[in-house]
Amino acid sequence: MTYRVGLIGAGTMGSTHARHWNALPGAELVGVLDPRRDAAHAAGPVFSDWDTLLSQAKPDIIDVCTPTPFHREYVERAAAAGKAIFVEKPMARTLADCDAMIAATERAGVPVMSGHVLRYFAEYAAAKRLVDAGGVGTPVAIRTARMAGFPDLGGRPNWYADPEQSGGLVLDMILHDFDWLRWTFGPVSRVFARGLYGQKAHFGRLDYALVTLRFESGALAHVTGSWAHPGGFRTTLEIAGDGGMITHDSAASAPLAASLRSTGGGGGVAVPESPMAEGEDPYYLEIAAFVAALEKGEPPPVTLQDAREATRIALAALESIETGKAVTL
């Protein structure tokens, strides 16, 4: 069958999803909700409101790409309507919202996948495969970093700059690392963090956080998150174990570099891009994995429980930043 997809939110991530839904065999983007009509038009057929989207476009899948605070509302609506759901990360701004979303989808018995796309980035997937194969022995000291400028919405109201909505980079960006780390190294037992979150003098223009995690296994991880790097997006990864070490640096592994005389305008949130063969783009792979799970009637590979656990680590880091104390999970 062809799955009919209704997209909620046509911002940075929504428009990325729209492109991949349109490329994915077995899925069809049948409707878009976004108060910004131009953005919605660019992504797909536009509907004025939720009820019309449901009744006229008849979606099988609802893909929630709104700003974080609206995730719960649309997940609950989609669950009540019996739709399969894909919801962007972070799952929600609070654990109470996470729990309500899990309860609503379990009650409705609908399949849900969370957009922890880092698992589908080839370098992170390959690193996990190497670790699982014993490539570093027992992992001991892990470092990840995700560095970019402050998200720029091109003059639109910037909800990223409101910590109450976005949770800053700890919840919005290095949540990616938390999910990947938990997926690869298991449950986290303790979190300590320092960051600029809550510092009114700086927040909104820049954010920076340094987070230390202790895993139940005894391994330690250090996570750097930066919205203080004006020079573009960069990630690094290092996994040291008692039998070896893996390192990765996006700046050192980009196969193409352009040094052009005229530079184009910027804008938009930094979304990591790595030129991969068609069909291997991580944003394509994650929705393809979701649809494949739906076709087989299997649970989607990244669950809301996974998303809740990653959110819990991020919220613990924010709590640690605010209280100055370590948070035991």
Binding site: A141, Q199, S226, A228, A240, G241, D242, G244, G324, A326
Partner: protein, 331 residues
Amino acid sequence: MTLKIGILSFAHMHAQSYAQEIVAHPDAVLVGIADPDPARGAAMAAQLSTTYYPTEATLLSQGLDGVIVASENIHHRRLVELAASAGVRAILCEKPLATTTKDARAMIAACAAAGVKLATAFPCRYSPAFQRLKQQVSAGAVGEVLAIRGTNRGTMPGGWFVDKALSGGGAVIDHSVHVADLNRVLLGREATEVYAEIGSGFYHQDWEDTGFLTIGYEGGVFATLDTSWSRPKTFPTWGDVTLQVVGTNGVLDLDMFAQNLVHYDDRAGRIGWDNWGSGTDAGLVADFLRLIAGQEVPNLATGEDGLRALAVALAAYRSAASGESAAVENS
């Protein structure tokens, strides 16, 4: 005038480099070395064309102007106090200054009482890349500094470094003092508290090989520091010193030992990084000689500077034991 220098103990491998700098310096002469290991002492003396003295007292009775102490950490206090009482003009002590703040304070006091100048060996201060970083930070290149992410990772050194009775600890006491000192130089602020997670997962011994520190500074600046002996045996060099300095106006990234040739060595069956950057020990030793000569040496770390850096490492151990942040002991 030629300054007469002696070296007490070659237990720390840095002694060799300091000795070579003294031998090469036009204003200094290496009068001799004392070492509790006669074979090592004699071999080093032969290599450096100087005299081996079987006891510290005989070397110290040669009318020395300055002494370098490069023993195991635990012996720093005894040797510094011995040298101070022998009437030298200045002493350069290997880092960490001591293994307890009590010992470090006693060393500072003994030198002060004897009118002897005490310096701590923090060679990273003399890295041209760090000097340039410091200059840019002071000129306001990144605006107000908000945070520093540091690493001083290495391969596991073995020997007495992993005998806690001689070293006072593992990777944390060995490596945190360098970056703790650099941060203090950059910020001009004192560390107030440390949170540390430590572990022994690389070598599974009773000393820590992993240390992830978070350091709070006066005024709310924060820093993290990875002190782990996490570089594998196949790593192309000994380790690193890196600082990511984040300010209101941008970021400065220092990778102190990045000036390498990559050497694919079929004969040795390994890939190595061959550093061609300026060494740091020549500047350190030259400043030590200036200190002896009574000149101003603002870049040379004092005993007090050594104590401040040590206090950060010791706070890390207290934090790791308690699971909470520990206050940095202030003098």
